[in-house]
Amino acid sequence: MKQFDRREFMRMGGQLALAMGLGAGATPRIAEGLEALASGTAPVIWLQGQSCSGCSVSFLNSRAPSPFAVLTQFISLRFHSTLSTATGHLAMEVLHKSLQEGGHLLVVEGSIPAGMPRACVMGEEPMTELVKTAAKNAKAVVAIGTCASFGGVPAAENNPTGAIGVPDFLVKEGITTPALRLPGCPAHPDWLVGTLAYVLKVGLPELDKLARPVMFYGRLIHDQCPRFADYERERFAEKFSEDGCLFKLGCLGVSTNADCTYRHWNRGANTCIKAGAPCIGCASPTFAAKANLPFYLKGVASVTEGA
């Protein structure tokens, strides 16, 4: 394994501070966090806000390393609501003592009900407060999934809880801990495990301007589409289950950055477009955001009515 010295961590810390729009003053702290992660002993605390647990379930679908290998060889998963044996007051004790110790990587799944803190409470503490406490002395924050990254479905138009994504919440609260986004509904397990492995073994991956690792989110789904040739030849599917480009059915691969068409889901089993399903843009910052931007175009007058 490649070993880094302090200078290397400082360089990578500066890179991350830049991607997050943070000042150079944040660099030493980020460097320290990366160094702790690279030692392979970094505790991980995983909190669930307004989540469906789908990103946790998706993590369990990791092929190699297996989720068990991740838990026993990569990280020390101190707290995870769905996996921790500790329950009740014991679980809260584990969480709080680990937070006091600090030096953890904070993974947050689900959005934050910024407009209605009562909408997510654990151990009699609002999740808004728990996330703030946990983020303040974390080395870094990973927003996993579209809800944590950008708000996602709970933040859709007309939502009653004022749900927002974690990085935006932290900025609003004046917390400068660096935060990465791994959007996707759910996030692909490789995107999490790959990012963790990269940070632990190599360093900080290159990030785009939304703090997403370029290695996973650098290209549009459309550009990597197995039906791209159909698009070029203007062979369009007119109804579900037909051959051809899915654009006229509503496919959002043209505006969604992710590598699922190459990577495939569920350990290589399939991927949406291959299964004949239009991309619904689940990794996009605007996923489900607007009522007037539907996933499918059936019955939408301006596009396919009369077809």
């Binding site: 469906c52 409470v121 299964a275």
Partner: protein, 502 residues
């Protein structure tokens, strides 16, 4: 003297649940279920394109997205007056069936088993099994380290009496690790037809988008054969092993004595289902009637009217409402609280004489030397799930064999200006209903009543507690600082709070 014991959070379930029990003379006298997370799906769905619902409602739950997707497309099939072709119906069953297997495996091994088996037993393992040796070496290295919490997330745990039989502990520990692979394999199988999972994109009104190809059918069947071996040779025997080690739990955890099943897995386009619909009120069978379902909100954090049928349901959050203690509404059937889930499905099917279910249940009861009354218990719920998994995995193999390549998987339809639909099915956790109302090609109203809404329901307007609240009464709590007995009873229902509140 009464002691109040709070279990908050209840971990190893889906979502944010808190349980409060009053304990007098070592037994629970009152229980409260508090659902602690709200997103407002029914509110944010209003005004959207009706077909968005099939995708958006899957995001209610990452453990059973297929159930929500299926309930939503059932409701939409009705609203659009479309019937999927046989291939479409079968593929929906295959996706749902595979997710049942993953859901039941994760519930028993990864969420519940650590309440019963002694994971620390691996520290002294002397045998040659590779999985157990690597688990042992990791746990021992962790315990020898100076970490604040070694062997997290598996330790720490409640101080309690765990299983003492070394064979049971080691076998279950090995299967705990293997079940991680098995549940992922079940998800792979679902994705062969679903596109991806969690959150399947291939489920659409009118059928599915994934065409039948023989490579997919063969891969699905190969995976299912591996899963069938694991279910029959590991899962079912491990549940029996835990049952034999903790027989007290056949007498604990009885809830309200009423059971509801909407029926599941359509066997034809005419509506018959593998598991039938039905109701048991205090043991008396009744035909399912959907017009007697209501949701009450006196103790729920909503200001909308109480007692509405879901077709007329409203969801107006009131986070500061006095006396309300949960984000769940209180669904009632003819005014009765109802237990839902695998146990309800199995009891309804048994009562209606479904042969596959009768054979499995009678065989298991004989093995345990118990009568049918033992099923209505915490262990009965685990047993019902295991038997159901055995039946479903076998039927999935038969359904896969019925697929016809080259024949349609989807029936096209016109999106109507207005319409109504009701989608009733069974999620792994129990009866799931979606109700959609469409006006001007937009969703005018959408309501969901979800399995854990039934099971974890608060008191209704008459003060009658919900099923889990009732099941806790009488549960012994030997040590209020380590209330594992109450936790075991609650987990036997496989609660999902993201679902229950939505």
């Amino acid at each position: 003297m009464a002691t109040t014991v709070l279990i908050d959070p209840v971990t190893r379930i889906e979502g944010h649940l808190a349980i409060k029990v009053e304990v007098t003379d070592g037994k629970v006298t009152e229980g409260r279920c508090m659902g602690e997370m709200f997103r407002g799906f029914e509110v944010l769905l209003r005004g959207r394109h009706p077909m968005d619902a099939g995708q958006i409602t899957q995001r209610i739950c990452g453990v059973c997205p297929i159930s929500h997707g299926t309930a939503s497309i059932f409701a939409q099939d009705m609203a659009y007056n479309v019937t999927p072709p046989d291939n479409g119906r079968l593929i929906r069953n295959l996706i749902l069936g595979a997710n049942y297997i993953q859901s039941h495996l994760i519930h028993f091994y990864h969420l519940s088993a650590l309440d019963f088996i002694d994971i620390a037993a691996v520290t002294g393992y002397q045998g040659e099994d590779g999985t157990l040796r690597s688990l042992r070496d990791w746990v021992n290295a962790e315990l020898a380290s100076k970490r604040l919490y070694p062997a997290a997330p598996f330790l720490p745990r409640y101080e309690a009496q765990y299983a003492t039989d070394p064979t049971l502990n080691l076998t279950a520990a090995k299967h705990f690790v293997e079940a991680l692979e098995m549940r992922a394999l079940a998800h792979d199988s679902a994705a062969l037809f679903a596109g991806k999972i969690p959150h399947a994109t291939a489920l659409v009104p009118g059928g599915v988008t994934q065409i039948v190809t023989m490579d997919r059918v063969a891969a699905y069947m190969a995976n299912m054969q591996i899963l069938q071996a694991f279910v029959n040779e590991c899962y079912v025997p491990d549940v029996i092993g835990v049952a034999q080690a903790f027989p007290d739990y056949f007498a604990l955890g009885k809830s309200c004595g009423n059971f509801l099943s909407y029926g599941n897995f359509p066997e034809s386009s005419s509506g018959s289902r593998l598991f039938p619909a039905g109701v048991l009120i205090k043991g008396t069978p009744e035909e399912l009637k959907t017009d007697v379902i209501t949701e009450e909100v006196k103790y729920s954090l909503f200001s909308s009217p109480s007692g509405l049928h879901p077709e007329k349901g409203e969801t107006e959050p009131a986070p500061d409402k006095a006396d309300a203690y949960t984000w769940l509404k209180a669904p009632r059937y003819q005014g009765h609280p109802m237990e839902v889930g695998a146990l309800a499905r199995v009891l309804v099917a048994y009562q209606q004489g479904v042969q596959a279910v009768r054979g499995e249940v009678d065989g298991l009861l004989a093995k345990l030397g118990a009568g049918p009354e033992a099923l209505d218990s915490a262990l009965g719920r685990h047993a019902a799930r295991a038997l159901e998994a055995k039946i479903i995995v076998a039927r999935c193999l038969e359904w896969a064999g019925q697929l016809r390549p080259g024949e349609p998987v989807f029936t096209d339809f016109e999106l109507p200006d207005s319409g109504k639909g009701q989608g009733l099915m069974e999620a792994p956790r129990g009866a799931l209903g979606h109700w959609i109302e469409i006006e001007n090609k937009k969703i005018a109203r959408y309501q969901c009543i979800v399995p854990t809404t039934w099971n974890c329901s608060p008191k209704d307007d008459n003060g009658v507690p919900g099923p889990i609240e009732q099941s806790l009464v009488g549960t012994p709590v030997a040590d209020p600082a380590n209330p594992i007995e109450a936790a075991r009873v609650v987990r036997s229902f496989d609660p999902c709070i993201a679902c229950a509140v939505h």
